[in-house]
Amino acid sequence: MATRKKVFYILLILSPLAFIFLSLFVGRYPLSISSIVNILICKITANPCNLPDQYNSIVWEIRMPRAILGALVGGALAISGASFQGLFRNPLVSSGLLGVSSGAGFGAALAILLFSSTSYTYVFAFFFGGLAVLASYLIGRTYNTTPAIMLVLGGVIVSSVFSALISFAKYVADPYNQLPTIVYWLMGSLATARYHDIVIGGIPMAAGISGLIAIRWRINVLSMGDKEARSLGIDTVVNKGIVIACATLATAGAVCVSGIIGWVGLVMPHIGRMLVGNDNKVLIPASLSLGACFLIFVDNLGRLITGSEIPLGILTALVGGPFFVYLLKKTKGGGW
């Protein structure tokens, strides 16, 4: 049994790495497999390569950071989705559906408006992301007969209010300096990923992710309900707060580097549940790994299908939308 568990965890860590490795072979520039392998070997053995600089630059400066960032963003979105689902005992929620993504996007836009620079964007993104969850939660509590649906409805309201606020921020922004910056931030794509982005966006994402992994067993307890959790000696308010803060931090980091990407946070935890079951102790890391793999996969798909890359959001929505309908049908709008 113990060895099976070990194999499982090794698989969880290895599969995103395998996806990152494979995505080094996908792109517009025609690079032969052998030259890519050569470049990798050169770098590892620290030998100078006698291949053109372009090759090195494409593999190490363009494809590699893009894949790493994709893995981080996908993982962050999926793990926060899984945590929100466990926390609210609601299979229909995720960072996107609770309004965290739009809230964070608005926070980033507001920071650019107020300070005309991008230095405060993360703080604002985090703050407004948190505000959005809180608002969705409070709206969801107003009517208690169908809490699962009400929470989703609350999220819909909150995220459309924040989307409207984003449009408003764009409207009042200075078209020469602020507007392009805001659009650039919100549009964010993995296409121009640099190591610099990985460092800056990676800090909040990594912090949120590790926080969630560290307290994942408490999500199990919290998901049993407030009374049960309290009877086990868990401070529900503090623990809920920590989970929400970590999930919001991870989402805000993801939104800041790659814009709003929907559906990953909803769909990946469910696929995880199909594979490993309902136990959050296993499900949380599984979602992280699946989300990372999925986003790299979708990003590569977008690069392969047409010459001019298809934006990530389109592909994730095409997969996620129908899946959400299936979930609604399966859960009949209740909890589980």
């Binding site: 792109g27 517009r28 053109p52 600089d53 372009q54 630059s57 400066e61 047409t306 010459g307």
Partner: protein, 371 residues
């Protein structure tokens, strides 16, 4: 029950009062209703706009609506800027233009994001309105404008010839055709001048150029003004005729595509982007970056060579000289720039401002510091 009824009645009465007050205020002193179409028309001329529509406009145009920033720049260049009564938000934020024409600050803004606010437009009471091609592609917008009774002209262009026609059209309508023709004559002269010397360079020897528009990876697609003027200026524009990513109405290239094209020269129209490209590890392997051939384009009233810029002839001269310095050693950009703004905008520029324009820092900034 009675209480509820009374409350409802009260609310209704209040609503009625508020709506009457609001209606009274928004009407303003100018009547929201124009006389029936045809009644006011004393003398008219007919013109053909950029979409090929034949439009009847009054001979004497004293109130102009510019719902496209480019038209505002043209009208100002033609010396009719005082007549502008309605603009788009972008023109109001144009420091240089509002300094030349303070009336723009007071002008109405009857359009946001391409949608026309008809009441606001009628309230501004323009004799003619210029709208952009994108607005005209929406049937609803066209119908709305037709209902207003205000003659509207579509201004749109995809190449040099069409841009020249757009300038000529605005000249015809505003009664400044002579100046418009003078501008277009200069425009054509610039092209002829450059083309004559470029005959010496065969097509396969033309410099391969990547043109970065505002953002590092935003660039030109085929059938656009930049594609045309760059070709005229002797550049072999690498992104034209390629698969580009279209986001809203902007075209973007992928980093791998740019590396694949490996342009010899990169022209950048936004301050700061050139430094970004020169210092980025992702762009580092490009020949243009290695040979330090990344140039910041000049920025005057608008960014030279931008799709919506009126300073296209200047962009052509500057680009030709930048790409082929030996061929155009006789071309003095400083005196040419000075002449251009004096001749067409009646602006006497001191030497240091000219140098700032040419270095891409722009008149927008320098105008304030020059004082």
């Amino acid at each position: 029950m009675k209480k509820v009824l009374a409350l409802r009645a009260l609310i209704l009465v209040l609503l009625l009062i508020v709506s009457i007050i609001v209606a009274g205020c928004s009407g303003g002193y100018q009547s929201a209703f124009r006389p029936p179409v045809g009644a006011k028309k004393a003398e008219t001329i007919t013109v053909r706009d950029c979409a090929g529509r034949i439009v009847e406009v009054p001979v004497k145009v004293e109130r102009i609506g510019c719902l496209y920033a480019f038209c505002g720049h043209v009208v100002a260049m033609l010396g009719k800027g005082e007549n502008i009564v309605a603009v788009v938000e972008g023109l109001k934020r144009d420091k240089l233009l509002t300094e030349m024409l303070p009336n723009i600050k007071e002008a109405a803004v009857p359009s946001t994001g391409g949608a026309v606010n008809l009441e606001e437009l009628i309230n501004a009471d323009p004799d003619v309105v210029f709208i952009r091609g994108e607005t005209a592609r929406s049937e609803g917008e066209m119908e709305k404008l037709a209902k207003s009774g205000i003659p509207y002209l579509i201004v749109d262009y995809k190449n040099i010839k069409e841009q020249q026609y757009a300038i000529d059209l605005i000249g015809q309508v505003t009664g400044a055709r002579e100046k418009a023709q003078r501008y277009n004559k200069y425009y054509r002269r610039c092209i002829e001048r450059v083309q004559k010397d470029l005959e010496a360079v065969p097509a396969n020897k033309r410099v391969r150029v990547y043109h970065s528009v505002n953002e590092a990876t935003r660039t030109d697609a085929r059938d656009t003004l930049p594609a045309d003027w760059m070709q005229v200026a002797g550049a072999n524009n690498v992104s034209v005729n390629q698969d580009l990513k279209l986001i809203e109405d902007k075209y973007f290239a992928g980093l791998e595509q740019i590396i694949l094209w490996d342009p010899a020269v990169i022209l950048v129209n936004e301050a700061g982007v050139a430094d970004y490209i020169l210092n980025s590890r992702q762009w580092f392997s490009l020949s243009a970056v290695k040979n330090r051939k990344v140039y910041q384009m000049p920025n005057g009233i608008s960014r030279w060579g931008h799709p919506g810029s009126l300073e296209t002839p200047m962009a052509i001269l500057w680009t030709a000289k930048t790409l082929y310095p030996d061929l155009f050693s006789g071309l003095n950009m400083v005196s040419e720039t000075k002449f251009f703004y004096k001749e067409f905008y009646n602006y006497d520029l001191p030497e240091e401002v000219v140098l700032q324009i040419l270095s891409g820092k722009g008149m927008r900034v320098s105008k304030e510091s020059a004082r």
